[in-house]
Amino acid sequence: MTKPLEVEQETSLKVGNVATKSYALQESALVKWSLITISLIFLALFLILPLVSIFVTALEKGWATYVASIADPDALAAIKLTLTVVLIVVPLNAIFGIVAAWAITKFSFKGKNVLITLIDLPFAVSPVIAGLVFILLFGAQGLFGEWLFQNDIKIVFALPGIVIATMFVTFPFVARELIPLMQMQGITEEEASISLGASGWKTFFFVTLPNIKWGLLYGLILCNARTIGEFGAVSVVSGHIRGMTNTMPLHIEILYNEYQFTAAFAVASLMSILAIITIIIKNIIEWKAKDV
């Protein structure tokens, strides 16, 4: 006798929620605009003003000085070094992130939660300590110091030291974006692919990668931003050798401490532009990922 009526009730509700915020859930206009004003003043004071001041100070002495500050050989060397570090660190951490996420989300094994916590560990460590540990390992008095000296290998106060310290600091970025995402997606698609005869690699490239591309890109962007900007850890291991082991942030520090404010802010403005680009890309990714 009962007629099966499988239609979901939800639709009518949804129409209501999307179109107008329900009548009962609104504050008075006074409260609303006060809160908006408070937020905007706070953000202006802490975020917008610093950003604006960077560009204003950088251009204070004119365009020519600005260009000269950036075209300075030491500045160019710093830019080059930073780019080198990015090109090594970001791909390595990306590969690690993908591999670790695959191991953690596609299989079940004991100690998984411990492993996830350990991957997040570098976030809980002060950058200064991140630098210190590599001095303890590879420094002159460090664990491998003697051996490295005898074989004439330089790690600390050289590019390898900067790279590895940056790697430590940016270690979790890609993995922690991918793990929750891949956990949510489950393993059914991969199982289907493999049961249809695809190899593990093919499955990864044709099934998994398309599913995680936005998450991966998101992780890469964040990892990239932190790699470019890392200061504390690099400061410990670099030795501040001008034109040799100074990354962009270290170069800014030196200029600033020498009271060359315009030059310092010129380089800083360059990095700020990168930061703004990062935020824009991040928003585009979030927007794209929402559509999927």
Binding site: I36, S39, F109, K110, S126, G139, G229, P249, A268, K282
Partner: protein, 278 residues
Amino acid sequence: MELTLKKRKKNTIIPGFTLTLGYTMLYLSIIVLLPLSMVFFNTLSMSWSEFWETIADPRAVASYKLSFGTALAAGIINVIFGTIIAWVLVRYQFPGKRIVDGLVDLPFALPTAVAGIALATLYSPNGWVGQFFDFKIAFTPLGIIIALTFIGLPFVVRTVQPVLQNLSSEIEEASASLGATRLQTFTKVIFPELLPAIITGFSLAFARSLGEYGSVVFIAGNMPMKTEITPLIIMTKLEQYDYVGATAIATVMLITSFVLLLLINIIQWYTNRKFNLK
């Protein structure tokens, strides 16, 4: 922190378990675990009295207090304003909202040294903002709090925002139809729902603030006993080739961070269990 890895593969047909887990463990050990263990390893080579003398040195103790106090103050500021900002971004429409929303990520994207010099310049006695105050902001603990507030803001906003977004409107409607005022609905119904996220955001911001170096050194003034944060003490000791001393202080910081991390997890586990959050 030994990992017991018994293979408990559930008859899966997906390949690569040994390869991927092996690589993960190897990379993790080389980049993170081995280097970190050096801190504890080197500390063990110190005698207890030597260790205690280093970490209980008045200058070090003053730095703990400063780091802890400023991180706490910045955390509280961020909890208040971060929650308001998250609320405004989720609930209200206003011109330029998308830009403001994106801007919240600035502290994540901007190199800390850049933020440091910008804030130091702004809040110095003759800076754009500093000139309006007849007391010093930069080069005092107040300056440190400002730098840490900058660093920590996105942590609170970005943890509270999604929770607020997913909050079912039904519970607010239920509260309203039962006769509660808007303020009562917020304090008795919405705020308790947000609290776990607020605590998480606070803890993340606090943990980051304790170890923060780049944005603080420029604005702090770095006066021993007054405006010298703990990471700077490690830095100074390193510059003096006092590796043992640096390591001892690092041990204190690391243990503090780990305890904090543990505490966050316990709080989250407890709230999840109590209210069975879906």
